[in-house]
Symmetry: C2
Subunit: 368 residues, 2 copies
């Protein structure tokens, strides 16, 4: 059969601030693939349906001599991130044509699995806190079903990193008690929306901050949080003075926001430290000055990475999420972008907080 183009988004150069599509990342359609004859070597061939750009990828686009919690991405290869693929050929008896699979994939249209682009670092190359993302694509892909009453585009937000991280993080470390108050930074982002709703389901009062008045309205009117504010026009400190104190702080931001939140914590509060986006794009480091309160108020602060929690919580998570969905208690909200060629732009806009809910890039029709 005639080869067809196999477009990709390549990681082209290390960004200094926000990545620049076309410069740090590049759309490339120079490769071709013969879908009927490409050798599968016992594996399987997929077509990418959805790409799920996520904030944590930013950390991977760095000088590869710098250690961090995930290994750096490989220059010249496709960007790698979460996605949903459909099986179009298979030599693996456990994988059938028509199956949908989710996990870490290169940002390209067609992929033979296991993907040859995985390039694990030599053992001992990274400190032991670094997860080598390229070591076989972590745990490989897993089969996934459509969610009841939802489009396929709802899967990355609910079953992917945002839903898992929110649910498992709150379960393991939140110690949530009915009637307590939680503050969620980046409340209208993919992860924040899940945190808000799981906290509501547990009977907490929810305060959420976000970056636009439109998102504040959405949080108040659609999600029904108790209080929401635009951090660009209202100081965290004054919002929490009014609506706090807080028992739980879900922190995706760090820096100045964390500093203010600590000041408004109750005794025995829990801080769930899940991200530090105030520093992801080369911003100057903010010095946090309120840490004496950690001891004075006996606050507990937990660093969260969802990979640590999956082995323990995956089972109960699926049960609970399907139950909440079936009861209509879990709203999903996607910002949908069409076309692989727009995936990098969609990702950068996500980093800049330009949109509401989970950014999902529709690469191809799931029904095709």
């Amino acid at each position: 059969m005639t080869p067809v183009p196999n477009p990709r988004i390549l990681y082209a150069s290390i960004p200094t601030g926000y990545p620049i599509p076309g410069e740090n990342t590049k759309y490339d359609d120079s490769e071709q693939i013969d879908l009927e004859n490409v050798p599968l070597k016992g594996g399987y061939l997929t077509r990418t349906v959805l790409i799920s750009p996520e904030p944590w990828l930013r950390e991977r686009l760095r000088d590869p001599t710098v250690a961090s919690y995930s290994s750096p991405m490989r220059l010249g290869l496709p960007m790698v991130g979460s996605g949903l693929v459909k099986v179009i050929r298979s030599e693996d008896p456990k994988i059938k044509v028509g199956d949908f699979m989710t996990g870490l994939i290169p940002w390209q249209l067609y992929i033979v699995h296991p993907w040859e682009g995985w390039q694990p670092w030599p053992p001992g190359h990274w400190p032991d806190f670094t997860v080598d993302i390229d070591a076989g694509g972590l745990s490989g892909l897993t089969k996934v079903q459509k969610l009841p009453g939802k489009d396929w585009t709802a899967v990355p937000g609910v079953l992917g990193a945002p839903g898992r991280t929110a649910w498992m993080g709150l379960k393991e470390y939140g110690d949530l008690k009915k009637g307590e108050t939680i503050y969620v930074s980046t409340g209208a982002g993919a992860l924040g929306l899940m945190v808000c709703q799981f906290a509501q389901a547990a009977g907490l009062k929810v305060i959420a901050s976000t970056g636009s008045d439109e998102k504040v309205k959405y949080l108040m009117e659609v999600i029904g949080v108790d209080h929401a504010f635009n951090y660009k026009t209202t100081k965290v400190d004054s919002a929490l003075s009014k609506w706090g104190p807080i028992d739980v702080y879900w922190d995706n931001v760090g820096g100045e926001t964390l500093d203010a939140a600590i000041a408004h914590c109750n005794i025995h509060a829990r801080i769930l430290a899940c991200g530090y986006i105030s520093e992801y794009n080369g911003e100057e480091k903010y010095g946090v000055k309120n840490l004496a309160w950690i001891f004075k108020k006996r606050i507990r602060m937990y660093g969260i990475l969802v990979g640590d929690l999956v082995p323990k919580w995956a089972g109960p998570f699926f049960e609970e999420v399907y139950k909440l969905l079936a009861e209509g208690k879990l709203k999903t909200q996607e910002h949908i972008v069409h076309g692989l060629e727009n995936a990098d732009k969609a990702w950068v806009e996500l980093l800049q907080g330009k949109h509401l809910g989970k950014t999902v890039v529709v690469v191809s029709n799931p029904e095709a």
Copy 2:
């Protein structure tokens, strides 16, 4: 009988930096007491044997409009802190003449219990994270025995705040595993010495910092820690580069030391935040810049106040400590000062880190 003087150390004015004896605190012997005839109203009369000055008292000498974890001390009344007293008269059938009691007491020679100086704040006056120290002297005094093979002067260090905080904090939050590495700031202080030794007993490698070469020598040669350094001449960062990384950090200091320790934490490290002496005496607040590592390395950080832990751990603590003492595995080290009139000076020198081990003020002869 002729009344005798009842000397006291009064809290005279709010200090700005380190308290100044004679100015912020004042020795006063103007009061008299008739030991045979003073009415006991069903209580008991004690003579103070030991005063145990502790760093946390500094926080109480503050502007009373400022909230903190403990209520402010009352100007014009005696300083209040831990001590050991001997019963010399009693109308309480549970308390016998000759009993030794420990707990919070006014810094004065003779005390009728319950002490009339306790002045609890009105309900709701303080936020719920504030412990009202004056509410009946917390839980009152408890009877205490001499420790096997030790003088009475060993009691405040082992059974008082330092020993309890160290043991219960490590037990509740340390998650200590044999072969791990702990870093202890203020390692040669009363609390630090206990942390070092309990960690050694649990099979950890111990790194300790302290403020003089003499104390470094003591930690290495007498306590037998694996590594010790003088933080005034060796940077925390370079010491931990050499001897780290660390799995547990016992933090009494906060600020810059905490910042450096975070940088040298292993994945899943625990930080036990037990004090912030870098800010106790009006120093400028240091902004901690390494907090993104909390999430990246999935560090857990716990604020510790021993009062929270006593109900759960008091029983096992006494068992373990007596066992370690009986086996000769727990060294005690006191800096002994004689005379009630020197208690405030001894306390300020403790805040300044001038001495090794637990500062104990001998007020009167326990055998008398």
